[in-house]
Each structure stands twice: as C-alpha cells, then as structure tokens.
Symmetry: D3
Subunit: 321 residues, 6 copies
C-alpha cells in the first residue's frame, strides 16, 4: 500500500459497536472522491427491469444495514481484503425512478467514471438488469470472462417487447461483444422456459459452460471449481451473483424464489476455491428486503459481496505489483 494514500478500511468493531452510526457497505467510509480508492462498493437501486415482483431498489440500503456484521478475514482462504486494497462506499449509481433506459445509461456512465479513476467496481443491486450497463463500462476494450450465479439463464431475447431487462443481460452482453462466450460459466440454473428456441438451448449454442443445479449436484463443489477455473483462465473475469441462485430458505427476499437451489455455503466454497482468479469487478443483485421480514437475504448478500471482494482485492493487489 502506498504510504501517501489514506488507508480506507472498515470502522473497527472493537472500537465502535456495530449498531452505531450511519450504515455503509461493510462499515467502509462513504467517500465523495475517488482518488485513493482501489475498489468501490456502490448501490444500484434499480428495479424497473423486473418482470415480476418489485422492491430490489431497496436492496442497497438493506445490504448496507446488514453489512454491519461484515468481517475482515476470510475464514477459509485467509484473505484479508482491507490489508490488500483501499475499499470504500462510493454511494449509489444514479437511477431514474421510473425510466429503465435512462437508468441503464446513467449506471453505465457512473461505472465508466469509476473505471477512468481506476476504481474497480463492486455493485449491490437492484435487479439483474444492472449487470449490462456495468459490463458496457468494463468490457469495451476486450470481452470479459463471466461467472454467473443464478436460478435463471438470463438469456431471453425479448421480454414484453423489451430487450434490456432482468432476464436478458447475458444475451445482450454476448451480442455486444462484452463477454467471451468461451469464458462464460453459469452456475445454479434450474428454471427455464423450455420448448424450442429456449434459453437453455441458447446458452449451449453460444458455447457457455452451464452448470445447472442438477449438474452442480452431480459434479460436486471441487469439480465445479476446477471446471470454472479451467474455463475462466487468467484473463479478467466479472462475477455476477443473482441472489435467487440461493434456495428460498436462505434468501426468501427476492422476486424469483426457486426452491431447490444453492446454499450460501456452496457459494462461499466455490468462490473461495477460485482465489487467484483475475476478478476485476462484480455484483450481487435482486435483494428485495420487504419480502423477508427476518432479513437473512441481505445478510447472505453482504457475505457474498465479501467473498467477491476477497477475490477482487487479491487480483487487484497482484495487478498493482
């Protein structure tokens, strides 16, 4: 870490009780300048791309509250992200509360600005529409690898005559050259429309590596980690985690509850098993806090964001060497 730079790290839970003061992502400083930030956590309070249930626009606020319990060391990989990078809460990407397209554009500009300041983005959604504008900001130079956790494939072509929404980001990213189909891994899928010309067929035709939940169970975590590493390789990777990848018992607070899914533990162990991967950005999305009065969904989301941060900070530290 550069000596001249401020050391941006979470408020220490041994100094200030976790219930105290304004809630920020992982108790990090809410900064208004990007100068010294390596990884920027931000909210994307957009739910206008949702075909079913709303409410994920309140996801960022809920995850900020839930991340009061965030820790500093990964118990499995031993990674201590805040020793590796300066991280900060850089606020929310601006959205239009009623216009999907305008929001998608302003999210892209927000991430482009982070990118120009060499701040790596870690977003909290918001519905799954948000990944497209982030990829548009990040994937211009060259297509990225994509690691995609989800109950769904998000490869529909059109949903209610709309091409950009929470069910299409993968297909759009592919069409726009933002992702490299040979370096796409999808994990946890168990809902698709089926029939001819369906989304599962699309994924296979595109050359994606699809580890449906059925396949995940058959392969086991270790093989999944191996295959994922092999497919994603050493080039830059973006990770997007739709919270409905989780079983509803672990994440009741989302629109797309699909019983028979991943556990947080599964997800943690896969992500920890990928330590060293060149992860340059990520997001956790689809948290709708009002659907979950006990609030465990946002706790899960905060934990998964921490896992992605561990990967990003390792990659960033390596990149800075």
């Amino acid at each position: 870490m550069n000596d001249q730079r401020p050391d941006l790290r979470p408020t220490d839970g041994f100094d200030v009780p976790r219930f105290s003061d304004v809630a920020t992502f992982m108790r990090l400083p809410r900064v208004t300048t990007l100068e010294h930030v390596d990884v920027g956590l931000f909210g994307v309070p957009l739910d206008l791309g949702s075909g079913f249930r709303m409410g994920s626009r309140e996801g960022p606020a809920a995850v900020r509250e839930a991340s009061r319990t965030a820790r500093v060391e990964n118990p499995t990989s031993g990674v201590r992200p805040f020793d590796l990078v300066n991280a900060a809460d850089v606020g929310d990407a601006p959205v239009h509360p009623m216009k999907l397209d305008a929001s998608v554009e302003s999210i892209q500009r927000f991430v482009e600005n982070l990118h120009e300041h060499d701040v790596w983005p870690l977003a909290i959604g918001g519905d799954h529409t948000i990944t497209l504008p982030i990829l548009r900001a990040l994937g211009k130079a060259r297509p990225l690898g994509l690691l995609h956790f989800d109950a769904h494939l998000d490869s529909w072509d059109v949903l209610y005559d709309t091409t950009v929404n929470n069910g299409t980001f993968v297909r759009r990213s592919l069409e726009e050259g933002l992702i490299d189909p040979t370096r796409v891994v999808q994990i946890g899928q168990r809902v698709w429309s089926g029939g001819e010309g369906n989304d599962l067929e699309f994924a296979h035709n595109a050359g994606f590596t699809v580890i449906t939940y059925d396949r995940f169970e058959e392969m086991g975590r270790a093989a999944v980690i191996d295959e994922t590493r092999r497919v994603l390789g050493d080039e830059p990777v973006y990770i997007t985690y739709d919270i409905d990848a989780l079983d509803p018992s672990e994440a009741p607070g989302c629109a797309g509850r699909a019983p028979g899914g991943l556990s947080v533990r599964d997800s943690q162990m896969i992500l920890r098993g990928l330590t060293g991967l060149n992860v340059i950005g990520g997001d956790v999305n689809e948290v709708s806090p009002w659907l979950d009065p006990a609030g465990i969904t946002q706790v899960a989301a905060a934990c998964l964001a921490f896992e992605i941060l561990c990967l990003m900070s390792t990659a960033r530290a390596k990149a800075s060497d």
Copy 2:
C-alpha cells in the same frame, strides 16, 4: 333489475365459507364477458409511476384476498349495492411490467372498452398514476367532477423529467380538460413541497376546493360533507382514494406513509354522507401489501372500495330509471 339478465352478486358467505375458492373482488364472479355488467371491478397492477417505494402492482391481488370479508349492506346508509346493480370482477387492466407509458395507454384502452359496454369502472391500483388513463377514458365528453382523497396533492408538474406518474395526475387531468376545476374536492392533504410555485399554490390557483387535513379537523365531518356536496353538485363525479390519505396506523402498507391522517371511519362517514352523489367511477390505489405483514391496509382498501361501490350503484340505479 332486468329479468333476462343474470344476477351477478357475491358468493354468499352463508353458503360458501369466506376462506374458500379463488379470490375475486368482493367474492363477485370473475366474468370474461361484459354483457350483463353494470359496475366492473378491476385491478390495475401498475407501480412504475412511483417515485419512491414499489410494490403496489401486487395491490389488486391483495385486495382480492382481503375482500373475502366484504359485506352486502352499508351499516350507515343502508345501501345494498348488489340489489341495485350487477357487479363483477372483470379482471385486470393489461399493463406492461417495465414500461410506464405503454401501460398508461393500455389501461386507457381497457377502460374505454368498459365504457363502450356501458360498464362503470371501479379500479383497484396500482400506484396513483392509474387515475389519469381512467379519466382519459371517462372524461372525453365533458370534464368530470373529482373527489380526491390523498395525503398529497398530486399536482406536481414534472417529477424526474416525467410528466405522467403518481404525483401529477391532477395537473395533467386539468390541462387535458378531463376535470372541471370548479368541481374538484381534495381531502386529507398534509404533505407538499412548499416554496414558490408549489403544488398547494397550484391547487388554489386552479380553483380546487382543498380540504387539507388541518382544515378537515377544523371543519368536522358534517361541514366537509356539506361543502363537498355543494362543490360537486349533481353532475358526474369520479372518486379516487389514495390509501396514503389514511394514517399509517390504519394503512402501513403504502409507499407514502404520512402520519397524522384520516381514519377509515372518517372516510366511511364522508362517503356515506355523499349518498346520492352522481358517482360514475372510482378507484382505490397505492396499496403495497408487502409493507404490511398484518394486512390491514388491504382490508381498509376493500372497505373503501365498497363505500365507493355503494355510491356508484345508487347513481347507476338512478341513471337506469
């Protein structure tokens, strides 16, 4: 009632227990043809016009469930609406789950179709955007009187550079000649932006009769009823009830919770005091069921819809004489 017509009335709670079978508005038949319908209850599951919290797209479903307890006789006015008119659940107006403008248009077409079949509309929202397309369908021939219960004035000009949303329907209706400003009564207002060119000033300048919650308390119910009757007169009136007119203790399930508001009782007694008014349509809106785990908001909404139905059925019976 015409002998040839089927008698569309609620399933009798003495025959079939209230918890049984598919939930429809007030346990009325869900019809697919409009032929014999005098008053059509329908949902408008739109929340894309909301500047703050989402979820009212699930309002119609929640009110259908809550209206399992609906009764057949008004305890104060004695009106028995189902003895006066054929009422039915005519389904939901079609909406686009992601496009506000397209939804506004399809809602209008849906109500125009009701209108063409001489079915009087009673809508359950959905956010308060829904009233504009309904008025566009109903107020073409001549401007209507408007009775508007709300914590807000809904007379903003523009909200986030959008002109049609849940905060502007009154101003738009006025501009489009759908309502007659000398026959507009607004009741329960207690939130406005203030400052110059504000929404309260607009209402006064437009010539509306604004009975803010402060004025309501000073006047008392009887005087409010008198003034409302006097202003609205004998010509056709549309009633729109934003559930946030109620105190949050009576309606926690809405985005715009503004403490210090009307009670359901206040609203019931005002509406009952207006029996005989020429009410040709109405709506209850902004119910967001996920915000209220006990579900009293939708119970309140169902009750208020019943009050409006009592007024509409009386007017319709008179019109049919």
Copy 3:
C-alpha cells in the same frame, strides 16, 4: 381480606423483571387449587366455532405473554384490584381440539366448578363461542345482565346448520333464559347481514339496547356510559369483549377485522365509567396472535381484561362486605 388466606397477587415488577419466568395472566400465580381464589383468570383455547379464520386457540398463550406488562392500579378509576381480591391464573378450561360440542360442554363444567368454589370467572378466548357455556354455568339461577362489545351482533340463528358457534351466542343465551333482554347492552356493532329477518332486527325485537358504532359516535362516551348504567342497573352483569370491536389498527390479530371501530381508549373509558357495576364475570375473546406480528392485539386484550378485573374486584369486594 381474610388474614388466614394467602395473598394472591402478581409478581412485583420491581422485584422480578417482567421478562422473567413462566408467563401467566397478569403475572399472577398459576394455582392448582381454588381454595383461596376470588377471581380466577383462565384461558379457553377454542376456535372451532369460527366461520372464517382460525387461530384464536392460541389467544390465551399470547395474552399470558402480553400481560407481562400488566399494572396494579387503574389510572382513571384508581381501582387497585389486587388490593381488593385474591386473583389467580387457574389454567385453561379443557377443550377438545377437534370437537366443538364436546368443548362447549367441558368449558361449561369447568366454569361450574369455579362457580361451586365461589370463584368469579374471567376468561380469555378463544373464539366467541366460549361465552355461551360460561353463561350456562353462571346464568342458571337467574338471567344475567350482559354488556357485549363487538363489531357484530352474534345473534344469528344458525350458521352452516350449526346453532352453537361464534356468531350465535346472544340468541342462544336469550332462548335459554341466561340473559335478561331488558338488561342487554351491545356496543360497537357495525357489521350485519341486513335484509329481512336479520340479526339487527332480532336484537331490536328482543329488546336489547344496541349502541352501534354509529350511535356510539353520535352519543359520545358519557351518554353511552349513562345509558349502559341505566339499562344494566344493580343486578349481576356479565361482560364479554370481542376484540374485533376494536378498529383493526388497534387489533389486527383477529378474524373479523372490521375497519371503523372502537379504540382501546374508548373501551377503557366506558368500562372505567362503569365502576361500581355489579360485574360477576367476563371474557375477552377472538385474539388470533399469528395475524399480528407486532403483537399489539394481545396487549390490548390484556389491558381490557384488566379493566374488567377492576370492575369485578370492586363488585366482589362489595359482595364480600
């Protein structure tokens, strides 16, 4: 108070924190003998008489928990019931979890046993069926006066070909000579079936004094108290409080939520205004705790039971003079 008798009173909140130990009604001792008990509080966990929503069988448990905050002095009347009588939690009346009629009989026997031991009963329901067997146990010698708070009249003749259920206890009590129709006061009614031969008509024909919620508002509390006192006179009175008499905002946890109702405050002030009335028993019923995640319904029920206890303890002390 007799010196030889144990002084049965609540655990003192200054000695043992209110959150501590087993929950009993008003933190009173749970006794297994009736010897020294003047007033016996008991649960009646029956909901098999409910035509709509279930759950009031868990009412007694919920009210026991909620009555951890019960106090010892009435702030308006100044009555201190535990200085006047020995009160105790005498457990629950036995019920059959699946058979309504068998339960009704065992409840009656339970109260008869209390009666034989000269223990005055204060019951916590359970649905409103429970009042009939209690009156059968208490009203054998001579018809009682009845003070009945409720959103409904509970004077149906038959409900689903069943004569004893939560909608018929008043009519049955009258037919069986358990109550004196000239000494019946009903307060808070606002839901009835209407039409010919309806329940409201029945009440008027029977000679009851019906203070519907409309009349309550017109008369005001003071006049209601006066009329109630006048009608009930000095002879023994039984008080039954259906929690749905309250507005749903104050008691969301009941099956019969009817917006536009009494407040706890209204009820407290009426009951306090009746201090000196010869109240020899009472109940609070229809608390369904699962419908109210915040739990205010059972808090209200515990408060209203305390008000009835204040009246009973005053009457009992007078009777013991």
Copy 4:
C-alpha cells in the same frame, strides 16, 4: 390431445405478467365444468382435523397466490405437463367450517364427482385429514399404492377420542382397504410417540416400507428412488405430501414443524426419479400461511404440486394412449 377439446393450460407469463389477475392454481383456468379436464387441481380448505395449530384452511388460497410463478417444464425430467394433459383449477371441495365429519363426507363426494368425470385429482390442503376422503373416493375399486411424505406416520388409532383427523389417515385407509400395505412407502418420518403399541411399530407390523429421515440419509436419494419404485410397482399410486416433511427452514408455515427434515430439493429429486410411476392422484397439505410471513412455505408447496402433476400427467398420457 383431442382437437375438439379446449386446450386448458396456464396463462403464459410472457403474455400476461405473473402478478396480474385472479390467482388460480398454476395460473390455470378456473373452470366450472369438468368436461375437458384431465387433471383437476382443487383446494380443500379444511383444518378441523388438527390437534395442534390451525390455519391450513387458508392453504389453498396461499398456494394459488404462490403458484403465480409456476413453470411449464420440469428442469430435470423434462416433462411438460401442460403438453400432455388438460389441467384446470376446479375450485375448492366444499367443507363445513365447523364440522369435521360433515366436511370429510363432502370432500369425498367432491372427489367422487371428479372421478365420475374421469378427472384425476390433485388436491391442496388443508390439514392431513383430507387424504382419507380422497382415498375413499379413489380406492373403492381396488387398494391403491401410497407414497407418503411426512415428518409423522399418521397412523395413530385415536386422537382425543376421534378416529378421523390429521394423525390417523394411514391407519384408517388400511383398515378400510383403500391402500395396499405391501405398496405403501413412507418417507421422511422423524416424530413418533414411541413406547409400546406405537405408531412406528404399527407401520412396520402393517408391512409398510418406512424410510424414516434417518434411513433416508443413510440410503441416499438414488437408493430411496429404487426402493420406492420397486415397492410401488406399476399399479396405481396416490402421492400425499405433508409439508411438514420438509425442514422448518424450508417450510416454517405449518403446524408440525420438526427440525431435521427433507429439503424441497430432496423431494423434487425423488419425485423426478419416479417419472413413469402410475400416479393417479395426489395432494400437498398442511400449509398454514400465517405462520410464515415470508411465504416460502406456499412456494414450496406449489413446486411440489408441480412435481406431482408432472408424474400424473405422464401417467395420464400413457393411460390415454
């Protein structure tokens, strides 16, 4: 599919948003005639057979709401039930809200009527009492095979001197010759009374195949599927799924919460593994929605009903060949 017959299938989620209109099982048409129906989904809103907590009478309504997300293709077996059969929501079996025995009879008559119209029944409870009258309607001709998921054995002889309730249906069915003991498989059991003459002993003595949860874990899913197939064979089978078979973390909304149970995933995979089984009817029961504010229990129930439907539609299609 016969060309003359209407094609009864779910409203397409790509045409009409899932949050829209009246809720029916799996968005199927709510038909009032049985003419063209192969499989009839219906509610049985009965909870009078419950020895403990009530509320499952509201299960059918909750599952109808939750099944708004129902899909059309099984992701593991590939079965597309609505391509195989005409399915419809045929309403609720009539029940008496206070009388258990009368309800049991009317449920039987309702299913007999379905049977006479050659409509295969798929019921949503309701407490577990409901299976007996369904079996009485279906098992007259010859004893059926039974696949029974449950935390309990439901083989008590008498519960509170009642022989037909939610804990006795298996024993009664055996006694009445409705099921063939050599073709009974029970899965997931982990609660029994123990001691002499207990319910577990009864099951073994009767010759049932009992795969307690302990055994399930030891055997693994594949062996369970094999044994189940072997025992049930090719003859007609009825499947009953008590939602308390699931772990409470996956189904908090039921009376009999017994930690340490099946997952929805376990259940899905067992049921999918039984594709081809001759399943001629089934039910999912014991959903008590008020116990689960997040509503995942009814989502699970809807999913399991879909799995049973996949089996039934395959069997029905084969039968129609």
Copy 5:
C-alpha cells in the same frame, strides 16, 4: 444565512430519489466537523437502561432509514427549518455496548462538545436514559424548562437498585438542578405504580405540570397548548419525546406499549402550537424497530423529530438575530 458557511440541507428528493444512497437523519449530510452546524442530529444507540424489553439501540439506524421521506416544510406552521438553520447528521454519541454508566458519561461528553461548538442537539435514542446525560451537558448554567411526552412519569427513585436508567431521568434531573420544576410539563402519562410514595405523587409534589392522558382528553389540544406555553414561558426549553407516549397502534415498536395514548397527530398539533417556544434541544427515544415489522414506529419518530427541529430552528434563528 452567512454566505461563507456551507449550506447544510437535505438531499433534494426531486434530484436524488429517496431510496438512494446512505441513510442519514432527514437525508442531511453526515458531517465530521461541527464548524458550520447550527443543529446537530445524532443517534444515541443505548438500551442498557431498560428494565423490560431491549432493542432501542437500533433506533437511530431505523430512524435514519425512515427519515428518507422527511419533508422540508411544516404543513401547519409553515416553518421551513432548513431555510433557517444549518442542520447536519453528526453521527452517534459513543456508547459502551455493555456498560450503562460509562455510556451515560460518554453521551454527556459528546453533547458537551456539541455545546462548546454552539451546536444545538437533537438526539434520537436509544432508551429514555439518554435524556439525563444530555441535560447534564445543557443544564449546567441554569435549570431548563422541560416538555416531556411519555406514557410514564420517569420519576422513580430507584429501579433494581439503579438510580440512572430509563425510569428515573426526571427525578435525577430535578435533584441535580438541571430542570426548573416550575417549568416542567409532562403530557400523556397513563401508567404509574400508584400506592404510597408513588411517582405521580412525586411529580405533583415537585410542582410539575402533569397533563395525564386523562387530563389531555378533558382539556383538549388548544388548552393544553395554552397551559404548556404559560408554564414554559420564554426561557430555554428541552423537549423529550418517549415514543411510548403514542398509542401502540401508532408505535408498536417500543418496549412500553400502553394502549390508550396520544396520536402522532395530537403530538404534531401540540408541537406546532408551540411555535416560537425557546426550544434549545430535544430528543425522541425508545424506538425498538424489531418489534414493528411494518416500521411505522420509526416513521412516527422521524416525523416528531422534524416537529422538534421546526421549533429548534425557529428559536435558533431568533437567537442568531
């Protein structure tokens, strides 16, 4: 407003949607220097002084979230506080999560520091213990007037052998000369221990003006305002609002739920009627968000804090003239 000073005001709801970004009190800037602040809003996350139910340490976080809907103009008094003063969120007073006395001291030091910087304090609790250290910081120079809304008198001498806790601050403040007994007004009381040497007697003996809830109802709002103004006069006044002053239907989220209490409306109108009072500080306390899944308690608290801010900003503006 001084030109050199930054203009600290809420983020405008027309610019940035209310659901966006980090939650601060009333969407005010979270400042880390006190230089330009006139009124400092801060949290006091202490609940160790509670004799009953815990959880108010999470009150400040909940009120920050709920105050996303805060407005800028008082609809009755017309006061626009952010035009009058610079207000800011100055964070939370430091507390020890397990030690009551240490917390009380650090709260006092925190407020002393505000005082030294001429920042007027507006605190959000936390339990009612917090008022004592604030008064210790403010009332050193001369005893203050006190306006105290509460269901309780908070004048116990000792609670569980502890002298500083959430039931004693009034007595301690009097003993320490922090408040002037001739200028103390208590409103809304309805729970006291009674008996000899009780807390109500203490209040009367001390010379306080006690407007119990009974007296409040008898007097009416206007008379209460008059008497309060008369008693408090022109000298500095501190306002403390215990959220349990409200009826539980309006504030279920607090430990001391006492049915039959003030409405938010009552409180708003009293406070608005006191515009011009020399209010130099205040607090709202006892919000326990987990007790209220719908979250209306924190909405009420945010509204009441706004009312106190209106009074403080008027007084401050006058003081700055």
Copy 6:
C-alpha cells in the same frame, strides 16, 4: 426411579392439547421446590453481555412457548429421557435487567443452589455470557470437559474493556481452571478476527480441539463424533450450544447470524452420536425471538435442548445406578 418420588414428566399431548395452559419448558411441571428433581431446566434471561444486537433476554419465554411441541422419545437414539429422570422447569435464574456483573453473580448462585440439591442444570439463554457463571458453579471441584457449538470461538480476551461478556467465556473458563483444555471441543466456528494474537490462535495454543465449519465439512459427521468422543472421554462434560452455530436459514433469530453454518440435523446427529457421554449440564443460548417472525429459531433451540437432555438423562441414570 425411586418409587417414593413424584414422577415429574411432561403433560401428555394426548391428554391435554399442546396449545393449552401456561407454557413451560417441554411442558414439564414448573416446580418451586427442588426436592425430587434430577434435571432442572431453567431460563437465564440475560442479554447484557451482547456486543451487538439485543433481545436474547426474551429467549427463555420464546423457547418455553416453542417447546409445546416437545416429544418424549429420541427418534435416532431411542432415548426416552422422562423415563430415566425426573425433569422439571425450575424457573429463571435471577438477573439484574441493567447490570451485567450482578447478573453473572446471581446466575452462579442460582446454579450453585441447584448443584447443592443435586439437580443437574440445563439452561436456556440469554446471551452466551451465561455459560461462565454456570461453569463457575459446576467446575469448582475439577475442570470439566466442554463441548462448544458456535459460529465463534468466544475466546476474546477483552471486548470494549469488559472481560465477562458473550465473547469471552471460553478464555475466562480456562483461566479460572473451570475447563480442561485437553477436553475442549469446539464445533462450527467460522467467524474470527484474524491477525496476530487472534482468537483462533488462542484456541489452538490452549490445546483445544477446534472443528471449524470447514473441518466439519471435510471430516463428516461420523469422524467428528469419533474425535469428540475421544477428546471428551468419560469424565464429566458440559455442553453449550450457541444458536448462531446454525445457519441463519435455520436460526434467523439471533444476533450473530453467520451464513454457511451447521444445520439442526447436523447437530442432532452429532449429539445423538454422543449418547453415553458423561454430560452433567448444558445450555442453549442466544435466541432472540423478535428477529424471527416465523419463530423457527426457538423451535430449533427447543429441539437441541431436548438432545442435550437425552444425553444428560442417560448420564444421570447411569450415575444413579
């Protein structure tokens, strides 16, 4: 069992419905004398040792309610504890609602008293502070073996300059010679502070057997049981179960929710696998019921207490031989 002794056992669910009467632990008698008690279940309603979220003082009340469903036979081990020992609910250990240290002392005295009466203790917390005073009462004669389920290590030295709290009991117990470090097994850990001198390092240095959640998954249940048996041996063992050892999906109602944890099933099977272990006391702690509206946390806690009771009763019966 001694013939002269009363047979203290749960109220039979076949005699008295489970929803009926006062809630005690496992429906056992609430005794006021210890004479005939072998195992005493008691609450410890203390949450003052919590560094984060409060509410576990209401844990005992919640577990009493939830244990209405408690059974009498262990489905795996076959143990029937109430046939082996006299068990009873002996009330709550006295606590000071505001003073941690005083509470710790009075808890110790309470358990010492049990010990003097040869009553083996089974406690329901309360936060994890409660284990230290229990061990102080039990471990005086000789250090005990300790089996510790938890997401955390609870081996901090000091937390906010406090040495006795819910994060330090293990280190204190070791320092005070209450536990034998060679006979300490910790299971389920997955949260630690890391860095130098951290709590995990402490545990290893102390010689504890730490089976982190990672190790648990690698080893599998059988190996964990073997290692635990081997380490704990035949000497007396105390079991403490922090409910946050469970995954939040199984126990949302606790302050320290740490996704990726044990299931109740894992815990049951480990504990059942330890049948025969010399368990002389135990506790289940950290249940905060208000955080879990569905209430499954307290159901889990009641089940785990039953497992510990099975072990204790077996050991006690052996000791009594």
